[in-house]
């Protein structure tokens, strides 16, 4: 499956279907955070800030109707698996925050690695440890400024960006094998046995310390 999750951002700034081809309501800023879990699932967070007029349009169309927004997302992105939709908005600051979960965030590669596709217009800015930062102007949403933060799983090894700047741009990584219960038992058993062996060995060669010489009793007078 092509889990180009970043493209989800498109739906969040478009008017509902029918108007979608006509006009878009680009956000002033659009920040996306994707936290990838060891099992390949992902927690998505989108934070948007609008100017006054786009905020009004956006709220009229979907912002005041989260069920409608979710329905549109499920319609436009039927190819994806999206769960746990949550929505918050702040009228005072004209900001909105959407969170959702997808159990199929990372793609399995033929080489047994994993990958997170990233839109080609998103340029890598920096990365520190498991966190990768991208930014760019989304051409499909009125060139709205967009930042993307991707957090890879804790057991990630060998992360790298491939096909940078192209339509096939992706963050490729592998994960160290997760510790299953059986493996935990095996390791625990081995540790206990080693410890027991050491204790037994130590006990076998343990010598009780000799009693100090006792002075002979003085002869009776």
């Amino acid at each position: 499956m092509r889990t180009r999750l970043l493209t989800l951002t498109l739906a969040l700034v478009l008017l509902p279907f029918g108007q979608a081809a006509l006009a878009q309501v680009p956000a002033k800023t659009f920040d996306s955070i994707q936290v990838i879990h060891p099992d390949g699932s992902v927690d998505l967070t989108f934070q948007m800030a609008f100017d006054a007029l786009p905020w009004k349009y956006w709220k009229d169309q979907v912002g005041d109707d989260p069920a409608r927004l979710r329905g549109m997302l499920k319609y436009q992105f039927a190819a994806y698996v999206i769960d746990d939709f949550k929505f918050e908005k702040d009228d005072l600051n004209r900001t909105a925050k959407i969170t959702m979960h997808s159990p199929a965030g990372a793609e399995l590669r033929k080489d047994e690695g994993l990958q997170i596709p990233v839109e080609g217009w998103c340029r890598p800015i920096s990365h520190a440890g498991r966190e990768w930062f991208f930014s760019g102007n989304n051409p499909s949403a009125g060139n709205q400024p967009t930042t993307v933060k991707i957090v890879l799983p804790a057991n990630t090894v060998d992360a790298s960006l491939v096909n940078a700047g192209t339509a096939d741009q992706a963050l490729v990584y592998t994960v160290s094998a997760p510790a299953g219960k059986a493996r935990l038992f095996v390791w625990s058993g081995a540790v206990f046995m080693l410890l027991g062996a050491v204790m037994l060995g130590t006990g076998r060669f343990w010598r009780t310390a000799a009693a100090p010489p006792v002075a002979p009793a003085p002869p009776p007078r």
Binding site: F17, A21, R68, L108, G196, G203, W206
Partner: protein, 584 residues
């Protein structure tokens, strides 16, 4: 202490051994287990859009046939996973997609975008096909296999659905028309039939640069020519509505919509069919267009993206105005006409009407869906492959539709005596050779005194010239009072411009208490212009078609017409007269 160490060591060995045994025996681990959600399989596909369903890049892949979500719920990997699909009679088993392993806890989503064969467009009526998929995998080394089958309805190639949105999410008119982009799949600019139809138009227009660098005026000119060609060839609008249909979780309607080639061949179409035909012609000419869906109707806006003409300045065209009866209520309601006249709708009126419809939709009701043709084509909504057609027959059909006035670009309609000789198209750039027609039985041929032209009409026509009352430029005026069909020949001197000549006639007619209205005109070869119009006089309203041809010293006008009330019934007689006109 030693005893303590010995006891502790022994305990450690026993516990460790136990844990080791438990670990090695994997007690407590969940074995690899592949589970899946209920398969999502579309119960119906539109065959006209088979290329859309086969393209995973269209709209983020949402036009899939099936969506399968697998999850490994065990603590060990599922291995040697493979999946393949099949549609009986249409797609053989696909090469299996394989994964060496699906790690513990992982979810995999498999979408199937079927590469259906072009022959699927031969399906005219809804047909059932069986979709199958097969999954192989191993859990803890044990091989598993699962297969699944479900019937899928393949709709006829002309069946277009209104919506593909779940009924539970549908709440507005927009949602009920959510499948509107699929109509772009019926825009077939490269269909040879559309190409031939368009070439007939551009030939009459003397070519066009609208799609290259002709500018906005050239776009208007070519659109005017298209419209006038459609009215001259009597393209008709017909009404129809969809049939309710429920499938999956969608509740919508299915409408039979014909391809532009079918509209051209039958010379009639629904509003959506006419809009699609317009888009196909404009696309063939290199112009862009947008179909505007409003409740119960569709019209088109033409524009050129090459010329950076902003969308708002595009040219809206009411495609159904070719049939006046279909739009006369709207013309009055939109205050374009004061009353219903039944008169042909001019191109300018068709543009004004669509402009007002667009204004109402965009500024008042807000109920409209834009279907930008080229943008959606780029997104993957492309036309299907079409079957071959008999182009010779179609060429002949198109040629017969135009009144074949002398010098007209199409060959003269064969008279019964001349039918044995195939009509030939004149070589490009050379004047059409004009044969003296053999006058069929029952017809009378009138010759111009200077031999500039001839025209044939029924022998029972009587002269309507009134010496002293008829204008001096009127050379011939004959007709049948019973049928109201008449023919006139006028020779207007002092100009070589057909428009000026008609304008002069109009002024003279006004002085006589009548009113003459030109409803459309179309340039033809050799300087001939075909003009359509209406005449309003105390005696009644007449509709006519006129061939205007510059000749030495002036312009010859040859018109034929009838009472507007019987135009449809007498049109064949009128066309027969015009077909007989031969200019020297």
């Amino acid at each position: 202490m030693r005893k303590l160490l010995m006891i502790g060591g022994a305990a450690g060995l026993i516990v460790g051994g136990g844990l080791l045994a438990v670990g090695l025996l994997r007690v407590g681990d969940r074995p690899a287990k592949l589970t899946w959600r209920d398969p999502e399989i579309r119960s119906a596909l539109m065959t006209l859009a088979y290329k859309v369903y086969g393209n995973p890049k269209v709209e983020f892949g949402r036009h899939y046939l099936s969506k399968l979500v697998f999850k490994n719920t065990g603590d060990h990997p599922v291995t040697d996973f493979s999946i393949s699909y099949k549609i009986d009679d249409y797609i053989p088993w696909t090469d299996p997609e394989q994964y060496h392993e699906i790690p513990a806890g992982f979810t995999v989503v498999k979408l199937f975008h079927p590469k259906l064969p072009p022959s699927i467009t031969k399906i005219r009526n809804a047909t059932n096909a069986t979709f199958r998929f097969k999954v192989l995998w191993k859990e803890e080394g044990r091989q598993h296999e699962e297969s699944f089958a479900r019937d899928v309805l393949l709709r006829g190639v002309n069946e277009l659905i209104g919506s593909d949105m779940a009924a539970a999410e549908t709440r507005s008119w927009f949602d009920t028309e959510s499948a509107a982009p699929f109509s772009v799949c019926m825009v077939t600019p490269n269909d040879p039939v559309v190409a031939l139809y368009t070439s007939e138009i551009t030939r009459l227009a003397g070519g066009t640069t609208a799609g290259i660098a002709g500018g906005g005026k050239e776009v208007v000119r070519i659109c005017r020519t298209i419209y006038d060609y459609m009215t001259a060839t009597e393209l008709r609008y017909t009404g129809d509505s969809g049939v309710p249909a429920d499938f999956d979780n969608v509740s919508t309607y299915v409408q039979t919509v014909r391809m532009p080639r079918d509209v051209i061949q039958t010379n009639q179409g629904l509003c959506i069919e006419l809009a699609i035909l317009w888009s196909a012609i404009l696309d063939h000419l290199g112009l862009d267009s947008t179909m505007i869906f409003i409740p119960g109707h569709v019209f088109v806006i033409a524009y050129s993206d090459n010329l950076n003409i902003p969308f708002e300045r595009g040219l809206p065209i009411e495609c159904t105005a070719v049939t006046p009866r279909a739009v006369e209520d709207s013309l009055v309601a939109l205050k374009i006409r004061e009353e219903k006249t039944g008169a042909p709708v001019t191109f300018d009126e068709a543009v004004e009407m669509a402009g007002k419809e667009w204004e109402i939709a965009s500024e008042q009701t807000g109920k409209f869906i834009k279907v930008p043709v080229k943008a959606l084509q780029r997104a993957g909504y492309v036309a299907p492959e079409l079957a071959d057609v008999d182009m010779d027959k179609l060429t002949e059909t198109l040629q017969k539709r135009l009144p074949a006035g002398a010098g007209a670009p199409v060959p003269a309609r064969a008279t019964p005596a001349a039918e044995a000789a195939p009509a030939r198209r004149p070589a490009a750039g050379t004047p059409a050779p004009e044969r003296a027609p053999a006058t069929p039985a029952g017809l009378t041929t009138w010759q111009h005194p200077q031999g500039l032209m001839s025209v044939s009409f029924p022998a029972d026509f009587v002269s309507q010239l009134q010496p002293g009352a008829s204008p001096g430029f009127m050379l011939l005026s004959v007709g049948n009072p019973a049928t109201t069909v008449s023919a006139e020949v006028m020779h207007i001197t002092g100009t070589q411009d057909p428009a000026q000549a008609v304008d002069y006639v109009s002024r003279v007619f006004a002085q006589m208490g009548g009113r003459l209205q030109v409803t459309g005109s179309m340039p033809m070869a050799n300087g001939t212009v075909m003009i359509n119009g209406m005449t309003y006089a105390p005696a009644g309203t007449a509709r006519w078609t006129c061939l205007a041809r510059p000749v030495p010293g002036g312009v010859l006008l040859v018109s034929a017409g009838s009472s507007a009330a019987v135009w449809a019934a007498q049109n064949a007689a009128v066309q027969a007269i015009l077909s007989s006109v031969r200019f020297q």
